[in-house]
Symmetry: none
Subunit: 209 residues, 4 copies
DNA sequence: CATGAATGAGAGTTCATTCAT
DNA sequence: GATGAATGAACTCTCATTCAT
């Protein structure tokens, strides 16, 4: 799907506001005003508020997909190093797209519309497929031990999510309460990468079995 | 604070609906209707919709507090075993109160009202303080290695959150799409406990350093 | 009608709030809260909000009536001096009861309930009857000239009303914007008396014909 | 400010109902229904009920302003005649706009919103400035004696107000209880003009000093 | 006799959407 | 293709009043 400049403007603003105030807590007026377009435009361009959310998900999902493929092409064979790269990649990606990620994780448990729901699950699944593949490969190579693969994926996304969702809490822990979101993100990025690599490394390492 | 039976009824229903459709997506009408009380009762009892959320948080928070103390009194000295117990406890607690937990994690990044926000952060902090204490103790005893304590806590809550928030996704992975929430929870409970104990165990174990 | 202490308390507060925020703009809750009685008391004691207004009017009206009689008994014969005394009396009375007076003048044009409406008109009529009598007497004695008696009465009450209703305006004219109501009243009292005596004096004096 | 036809319709109806039932006693539903517009239009056009009142005041105030200038241009030099003309003008104006005038005099003592309050006081002040000017001029020319100028203005507006506010009372005095408002107004107009000219004339005339 | 609990009705406002142009 | 005007529905909250105790 191709979007006009105005449509992109709306999508960006919608993402920002949905992340900040939730889908339900954001009115199309808010979006229209911040995007400096007429209120009627949202219905006109996207059909409805719900369709706008759908469009946003489609838009971000498609954008993300390409990057996954790119990573796969790099020729790294050692499972341990592959996993480290994957963690770098996921942390980077989720933290850069933290707004979209927050919307997704909040909405996933709420959306009842079949099609959209499946779309969201599908995105999640695609994103995690790589992790599964690498883990299974490592197990085959007797480098990784037997673990709960699904929950290992839950740990990776869960840990990163936690960092984006509970900014207020972690800022307080760091005694840096009025940190801008972007500053916060860049401060946490390396910490999260290091933590997850160590965590998942020890978790998977067959020598620890 | 003591609540009457009708007030409890409202709180219970509010929790259910806030979890299901978000705070913003739930109207006081919805709550009144499901709780089978007059719509004016919500304002009458709690003052406003926001105060109802506040009351809910206070109600659930106080309920949880006692349990933490109780755990502390059990005389377990081995840090590894202590941590295992803690994980059992947290998984149990978050999964049993998954609705409240979801509300909290969704709302934490959105509530702007100072007092309520601090309350929520406070609850989170109190809940995690025990984990911090056990980790630090284990490190002192040279049983645990040096780790990022804050992020270790993020991993614990993040992993559990992930399981409650992304039911749809994990159901699909298990090919059990129409599972009731309670069935899903009981199915996941032991898996999550086992996974986290293994994960955090390997993470903290000084022998893996 | 005899009122209990609590009822009087309610009546006083009602008068204060009706004057300040109008009958419609005052809720029974406001009254109950300020009078420190249970909300249900207003309906319980007076039947309804409207009946409370009725009771208030009755209460204040009866209180005022006695004073009129008292004045009549003083043996002053000169119409000019009689009129001066009457003006003193009315200014005093309206300014002292400015709250009740404001309620009356605001409500008179709005009350549709027949009985209450008549009651209010009756009070006004009784109050003014004395003026009419003195003017007619003065005319009979060839001391006062022919004037529009009804409108002369309108001038007296209108002038005083103006002073109580437009405090903000007159305070601004006097460069004393934050004057307390009671201070304002005592400041204006003599001014209004002097003005009205001079005004009505010149108006009625047959020598000015 | 320019108003559309529908907006004017709302303003007219609002004026009518505010005058009849007071601002607080009139609901936006009442206005919408009588003006035959959707209830949401009031917020849509004016922002809120309070802003509607503000708009009404602005609308009526601006309408009146032009007329004052017009009067000033007529070349009348004799202060007595000037005052007579002014009285004719004010009586005419207040009685024609009796509804707006009533709203103003009722609301002036109640509005707490700073800006609107000042606006109202400003209107009153502008309206009365001319009277002050003429009186001072007459005093300079030794035609008028020394009087309380502010209260002389209070007398003029107070007398006219009294006539508009206490229709019920004066109708009863005239034994014409079921008079239409417009009939009542036209009946009183000349009476009020004559009365006030005589009253204020005698009041100001230096020969009566 | 007095009152806390409860309620239906209605308050002002905002919502997402539609429609005529 | 784009938009200002308009709308019905729904929102949260407060109203005056009633009723069981």
């Amino acid at each position: 799907m191709e979007w006009s400049e105005k449509q992109l403007q709306i999508l960006e603003v919608a993402e920002e506001l949905f992340a900040e105030k939730s889908y339900e807590g954001t009115s199309v007026r808010d979006i229209a005003q911040k995007a400096e377009v007429n209120i009627a435009m949202i219905s006109y361009y996207f059909g409805s508020k719900e369709k706008l959310l759908e469009a946003l998900i489609e838009y971000r999902a498609s954008y993300a997909a390409g990057v996954v493929d790119e990573l796969e092409k790099k020729g790294i064979t050692d499972p341990q190093r592959k996993m480290d790269r994957l963690i770098d990649f996921y942390v980077e990606r989720i933290l850069v797209n933290h707004r979209f990620h927050n919307i997704m994780s909040r909405q996933l448990s709420m959306i009842s519309e079949e099609k959209l729901r499946n779309k969201m699950i599908d995105i999640k699944q695609k994103n995690m497929e790589l992790v599964r593949k690498v883990i299974l490969e490592g197990q085959r190579k007797k480098v990784f031990r037997k673990v709960d693969v699904d929950l290992t994926m839950a740990t990776i996304t869960g840990t990163i999510s936690q960092v984006t969702l509970a900014k207020g809490y972690y800022c307080k822990l760091m005694n840096a309460e009025d940190l801008e979101f972007s500053e916060y993100i860049s401060k946490m990025k390396t910490r999260v990468k290091t933590h997850l690599k160590q965590l998942i490394g020890a978790h998977l390492d067959i020598k620890n079995a």
